[in-house]
Symmetry: C2
Subunit: 246 residues, 2 copies
């Protein structure tokens, strides 16, 4: 087996978003530069799950591989949303130091392809090798490495756009969810409040949000009915509509 070659100028960065019934979170990994001789910690910050792609690997596979390498997570639905190629995106002093010392020889001109993925941020088991991956609230994900603040911002903008125009995001909820959880998710992402009755009326028209014969258990209040999303029904009943507005 011959050694695979990494591409010097092309990377993939994944914005893995989770929801915990309260807020949006994102997976970030530590980037700590320790000088090998003195063991001095030069700096420590956070990056998205990203890395360079191999020459013999397409973009989607690269995204999946990199996420798996850094977090242990597999089979995430990763979707490309935008690419980033600003000239100065690796020009922060930390980035330059990292490039010098990280072991691989990369260009300082790297175009990165942005991917995102959605999942419930509860009950996620990270299996990490070396660098530490964890959830961080997106609101506090500032001062990231490279241009990753901007990448996160763009991902959320993209997501918000889609949320306004199609009923998506069920991936962010547990498989079985309550209507209140669903409403909170929409409110968190769109930054709005919805009337409970009207929201539920809207949802009750969505055949693909199917009520289960189950209720919450162990909650200190009236247990809510559980629902699940049916992808099948969704694909079958989805219609396009001339829905833009004055």
């Amino acid at each position: 087996m011959t050694a695979r070659k990494l591409m010097q100028n092309i990377s993939v960065d994944c914005v893995i978003l989770g929801f915990d019934s309260e807020q949006l979170n994102v997976i970030l990994v530590d980037r700590t530069l320790i000088l090998p001789n003195t063991s001095e910690v030069v700096f420590s910050d956070l990056t998205l799950t990203g890395y360079h792609i191999y020459e013999d690997e397409d973009l989607d596979s690269a995204a999946a591989r990199i996420v798996k390498d850094l977090t242990g997570l597999e089979n995430l639905p990763l979707k490309q949303f935008y690419s980033f190629g600003a000239l100065d995106r690796l020009h922060h002093p930390n980035d330059q130091l990292w490039l010098e010392h990280c072991g691989d020889v990369f260009s300082d001109r790297v175009v990165t392809i942005g991917y995102y993925s959605l999942l419930p941020s509860t009950n996620v088991n990270f299996i990490q090798k070396g660098r530490n991956a964890a959830w961080y609230p997106v609101t506090s994900a500032k001062g990231l490495a490279y241009d990753h603040d901007f990448v996160v911002e763009k991902a959320i903008e993209h997501l918000r756009y889609k949320f306004w125009h199609e009923p998506i995001g069920f991936e962010l909820l547990p498989v079985k969810f309550t209507l209140s959880q669903m409403q909170k998710l929409y409110e968190a992402i769109l930054g709005t409040q919805f009337d409970k009755r009207n929201f539920r009326k809207k949802v009750s028209q969505m055949d693909y949000v199917v009520p289960l014969k189950e209720k919450q258990i162990g909650v200190a209040h009236k247990p809510a009915q559980l629902f699940m999303f049916s992808c099948d029904v969704y694909e079958k009943t989805r219609k396009e509509r001339f829905d833009f507005f004055v």
Copy 2:
């Protein structure tokens, strides 16, 4: 002035779409491989307006430069929509021959960033150096170089999605347009028919489609009132809406 270096693995491809009151068109440029010694034409096909980017140029500037180089068109509103990195995207025999003979030494692993732009396809003056650029109906733009069939397809899919959800695409119309032209545009892109009265009722609620005190002249029928799009009013009155559907 030192020579600028092209990046081996990164290109930009622009899907420049135009509308001529009847159909969608796309700008394509000839790619003709002529052997220098025998003058034999090995093959001739068509590509999008695309090329490799320079090391010292960001993606947006590269797109603008490349379009200008190939067509002479400047100040087009170019927007990034997707990136393409399939392993076999340059593996058609013509592409391989082209790579061998085109003069520059490029990798056969190139990731390309897709951009699109919209403009009326009437009254466009191409200023071309060498390769020939022209409008082609998108319906007949098949068998293009590289993966450009796919790139065009993705661009149109992207555009159609946006058309369904926001009132855009005025760039595809002349500055002064009639409501019939606007309706035909929507019908062409969305592949639907709209009722004339309902369409006009909808449009009359859009404050940013402003009636002018002018009519068509020289037409062999009742001349239509002209309208224009006001970007200002649009930005001021635009609202987000929970508009997804059952």
